[in-house]
Amino acid sequence: MAEPPAPSAPAAAWPDRIHAVFRRNDVAQVGYVPDTGHARLISLCQQDNEIVDVVLASEAEGPGLVLGAALGGRRAALLMQSSGVGNCVNTFSLLRNCGIACVILVTMRGEFDDFNPWQVPMGSITEQTLKLAGFLTYRVEHEEDVEEIVAAGCNMAFGGNLQVAILLAQRMVDRHTGHH
């Protein structure tokens, strides 16, 4: 009798798949501000000798870091919450002014069963803000889509020196982190 299919291992969770896409795309620097939703991905980047992880005091430093990495011939990505997008509005200008490839993974707040209603004002304008700042935006609602969408985002960004943001739905992120 055939073995029943193995339950999907925790190691195949979406942060691991994003990390694998980073590796395949030679992402060499990852800037972030500590975040519950990104905690596992941050940990994977910290443990990866091929990735320099940079913990930022503010997300606003991220676009500068990405520009600096690009001037050194290295690809970079940023991890932040939706609130962090608001901190970057002016510094995003560096990326368009210089044609710098950038991939941002955004964990959404204030959009689905968030305990803190003060997250709503920024969360509800995050995607529009990114679009106004010149980003292509994609949303991941379901874990099974994450690898395809992040890979496509990396291809678009690194293939054409474009700015790409991938918004990770709060419903998916919170399920993963045990908030539901």
Partner: protein, 190 residues
């Protein structure tokens, strides 16, 4: 007090393969006044970001020395980046702040440093390996030792006069100066 143009000229004389990132405004004019150079990268937006650009570059190019040359206003707008640099401890990064205590580009309004806020002590608190305060041209020699040789991160606070200087305006085409910088620095293509 220090003449900023002369101080920067001394720092960048015989600069070899030093990579230089400048903050928008007067620091860019000071560096451009030494002669345009393909290993200069001038920022023209995102005030407060210059130190972060230097950090990303220093981490991407551990084989090269990186100097950030900027003003007190730019550093104040991104003060948290000093702490971010202190965490990463990049040995090849130096930050030179030309502190005139004023926002020269907008009409010489006083900055926080004019009220006694000491950016050098801030850098010390952020675990910079070497911190120097310079207020005379003789300090250029010490600054050069840090820029070109000392294991960093290094921080040099240069107290410069707030006299107005002619604006020397280099290229504002970000795509062009990026390509030029990448070619001249021999970065691997992305």
């Amino acid at each position: 007090m220090l003449d900023r143009r002369e101080f920067v000229a001394r720092l960048l004389a015989d600069r070899g393969d030093l990579l230089v990132v400048t903050g928008l405004g007067t620091a860019t004019f000071d560096v451009a006044a030494c002669g345009d150079h393909p290993l200069n990268f001038y920022l023209w937006s995102a005030m407060g970001s210059t130190a972060a650009v230097g950090l990303g570059l220093a981490l991407a190019r551990p084989d090269r020395r990186v100097a950030v040359i900027t003003g007190d206003g730019d550093l104040l707008m991104g003060l948290g980046t000093l702490a971010t640099i202190g965490v990463k401890q990049p040995a090849n990064l130096s930050i030179v702040v030309l502190d005139n205590g004023h926002y020269a580009a907008t009409g010489m309004q006083a900055s926080h440093t004019a009220a006694g806020i000491d950016l050098a002590r801030t850098a010390e608190a952020c675990r910079f390996a070497h911190v120097a305060s310079v207020d005379a041209l003789a300090g250029a020699a010490e600054t050069r030792k840090l820029l070109y040789g000392a294991d960093g991160p290094n921080f040099i606070l240069a107290r410069v006069a707030s006299t107005r200087q002619p604006r020397i305006i280099p290229s504002r085409d970000g795509h062009a100066i990026k390509q030029r910088f990448l070619q001249a620095s021999g970065a691997q293509p992305l």
